[in-house]
Subunit: 332 residues, 2 copies
């Protein structure tokens, strides 16, 4: 295992300290927890947003804590759901009196633990709602998941629900817009290589020298099929076709595109994928309102990418364009 | 070779198209060139900044084209200097009547070709100045370089010189501040793994299973020494100590820190490095004004990192904090 670590069992702890050391004006860590919240939390009079999950997907989710997106992010151990008490601490710390929305990626452990935390918070009189992101169209049911998994599309849920909350909307209104994004964002990924959980010390799965896997999950869960490596154009077509099949997009409709790197794929290659994605959308006369290319939801040092499409309407467009000031996502 | 590419000889071409497809409101490509410029270029009445070099270091340099940083970026083939005629096209396209500053990383080919382009532009009556960035303290002279190499610190030269140009300064003033940054920014890197130029199809060098190299360049040029992999803390100490040795920083002085990933190192590991960097600076009572953690100057999918320190004064601080609106670097 070739990694820049000290004790493999302390990577999350040390990462969180390194984040606060870098971004202390934006983020603070709740003592004795793995929770990072906005430096100005709780923001009074605003619905608060909390997300989180296993670590190893950075910049998800702490990279999206800040004005216009999340109020708090809970970090589990690598590829492991955070415990309910940690999520509960996050909820208490960010609640500004208007309620808290939990944005949960659809993994069985995350759903259970966030829901348990919601119950704990409600027992203390905090209003909590939750939405479950299941944008990955690759497979129904999988290792760790009943139903479809939540992957990079989650970042667009953070962005748009965060903008809605920042605008002064009620918890019910923020939930409604978050669910609208969830219904309209679909993603699919593929991998060229595995990744290694530091505490495990060896890759979680194997891909042959010339092999790729389509539909692989962000923890290395099985996808749709393994095959010989295809060209970037073919890969872009496979991913985009399956994603578009799940959305009802008419010519002249607007979309946002996210080409997300899983960890070790150079930006150069992500842009090569985007070239073909953009061409295919143009052929279908679908209007691209905005494109995000980079590492938004990673899987440690896995090589590969995912493509997400968000079908926009006027309201979603306005919220996507609204100001956001976080470490990993800025808009103005 | 496991890469998301089509024709390995067309990667730069396709990447540039993919960038413009993604960021067409910010960037435009000069026809039949490998030059990307601000969508609103030339900006009349402002000193223009051009940088560039071999491709494979993305987001350098096109990611820094935009308000408050570069006006144009010239992309050579992977790890290959752009030709003089390409640089000349960039100069002509961005000149807004106040002259053009070329920011050159110190590699022999880059220096020669940018200087030749400067002569071509001057022959056409365009005022051109140049600065050469040599922030890498690892080695004197190297493969491709006489003197010290230019690496991630170059991004801070873009930022600060760009802010100076945006403020309405003259070419001479922008040159002066760029040189001040160059004198005050030092960097050093290390690698855990090699990278593969697409057209070559195999790694440019080898590192053993448990081996790392300190001081390695961003094209895989030899560094100071190979050794067994050390802990993240030890690596942070080695890099930072050598960098600080080259700067005259007194307690209470302010610095900016950049912990840069070379391509496949997870953000988690970069933050673990930053944790130790921040601790060491705190022990020395050096004030960290701002910290940048992420991929700013990569080497395709090399694993490893570099640490840069910029010694700030009031003027540099103000320029570092000024607004910038580029794809890969935003400030407001």
């Amino acid at each position: 295992m070739k990694k820049l670590v000290n004790d493999p069992n302390q990577v999350v702890e040390e990462m969180l300290d390194g984040m606060v050391a870098a971004h202390g004006t934006k983020l603070k860590r709740l003592q004795n927890t793995s929770v990072l919240v906005r430096a100005d939390a709780p923001v009074q009079g605003k619905v608060a947003l909390v997300s989180g999950g296993g670590s190893g997907h950075e910049p998800s989710h702490a990279g999206y804590v800040g004005q216009g997106m999340l109020d708090g992010a809970v970090a589990g151990e690598v590829f492991t759901s955070p415990t309910p008490d940690q999520v509960f601490e996050a909820i208490k710390a960010v609640d500004g009196g208007q309620g808290v929305l939990l944005i949960i990626k659809n993994y069985t452990g995350d759903v259970l633990n966030f829901e348990m935390a919601a119950e704990m918070a409600e027992a203390e009189g905090i209003k909590v709602a939750q939405v479950i992101v299941n944008d990955d169209v690759a497979v129904e049911d999988s290792l760790y998941t009943t139903g479809r998994r939540g992957i990079a599309g989650t970042v667009l849920v953070h962005k748009i629900a965060g903008a809605m909350a920042e605008s002064g909307a009620t918890l019910e209104e923020v939930v409604a817009v978050a669910n609208k994004v969830i219904q309209n964002v679909k993603s699919m990924g593929m991998a060229l290589s595995a990744c290694t959980i530091p505490a495990a010390g060896k890759p979680g799965f194997e891909l042959g020298e010339k092999e790729m896997e389509i539909g692989m999950g962000i923890h290395g869960e099985p996808g749709i099929k393994k095959s010989d490596i295809q060209s970037a154009d073919t890969i872009a077509e496979i991913l985009l076709t399956k994603v578009l099949d799940e959305l009802q997009i008419s010519p002249t409709d607007k979309v946002a595109v996210m080409v997300n790197g899983l960890g070790s794929t150079p930006l150069m290659e992500l842009y090569i994928i985007n070239k073909r994605v953009a061409e295919l959308l143009r052929e279908k006369q679908i209007q691209v309102h905005d494109t995000f290319v980079g590492e938004y939801m990673t899987a440690l040092e896995m090589a590969g990418c995912s493509v997400s499409i968000l079908h926009l309407d006027e309201h979603l467009t306005e919220l996507l364009d609204a100001r956001a000031d976080t470490i990993a996502f800025k808009k103005w």
